[in-house]
């Protein structure tokens, strides 16, 4: 499913990157090692972590995008890293639970 459709449906903000990518699934979690081993390629990764290491993990796992919950702002150096590594970052004022619940109602995500 196109990220642009998810962005429209959930009223997300694009913080960095290209929203034309497709997302196949969803992962939610904040510990980077856990995320590293569980995010599948093309997953939308929901987290409240906002530091530059999040961008490295998203890049290494080929996540479709990072989705920052609860209006968490991406750290300035992480914004630069996201642009440099072509990592898409989205944000929302909703909680992780609310985002997961909303995404579970969208067809085409696993």
């Amino acid at each position: 499913m196109k990220l642009t459709d998810i962005i429209d449906t959930l009223s997300l903000t694009v913080v960095a990157g290209d929203a034309e990518r497709e997302a196949e699934g969803v992962y939610a979690g904040d510990f980077l090692s856990r995320a590293m081993s569980h995010i599948c390629a093309d997953d939308l990764w929901i987290t409240i972590m906002n530091n530059v290491n999040v961008i490295a993990v998203a890049s290494l796992t080929d996540a479709a995008a990072v989705l920052l919950a609860e209006n968490v702002a991406l750290a300035p150096d992480a914004v630069e890293a996201a642009k440099a590594k072509d990592v898409t970052v989205l944000s929302s004022d909703k909680s992780v639970y609310e985002l997961c619940a909303a995404l579970s109602r969208i067809d085409g995500l696993s």
Partner: protein, 141 residues
């Protein structure tokens, strides 16, 4: 490929802003070499965990990646404090990371277990006060 391809990196200690840089670079290089996505993913995860461990615990070190026709070998070497109890360190959830490290999202106690999980072989040579060398391979044949 006829000859082995070798990549060498110096990993800065305590520099979390660039931590993972070597892993990201290796991932790109392996892609250019035509290595399949699944092998790249395993190498990237194992190497990233090792790189982060060197930054958190050992004030940095070196990372060497050797690509042959049969395998991708990753050698991570540091001159840090060494690992007092390797079997304990290998347990999922065990961590000695400080609170400031945990606040960055690290310290889940998954580093070494992930490195073992995503590679075919892993050897740890460690000496207290002298350092640690971890050698991992991912078979690609």
């Amino acid at each position: 490929m006829a000859d082995n391809v070798v990549f060498h990196f110096d990993v800065d200690g305590e520099d979390f802003s660039s931590a993972g840089g070597a892993s990201v670079t290796v991932k790109k290089k392996l892609r250019q070499l035509g290595i399949s996505q699944e092998y790249i993913r395993r190498v990237a995860i194992a190497m990233y965990e090792g790189e982060i461990n060197m930054v958190i615990h050992a004030n940095g070190g070196t990372a060497d990646v050797i690509v042959s026709d049969e395998e991708i070998k990753i050698v991570l070497a540091d001159t840090g404090p060494g690992i007092p109890d390797v079997s304990l360190a290998m347990q999922e959830g065990f961590s000695t990371a400080r609170d400031n490290i945990r606040s960055l999202g690290f310290g889940a106690g998954m580093g070494l277990p992930n490195m073992k999980k995503y590679t075919d072989t892993m050897e740890i040579e460690t000496e207290l006060g002298r350092g640690t060398t971890i050698t991992m391979t991912v078979k690609i044949a």
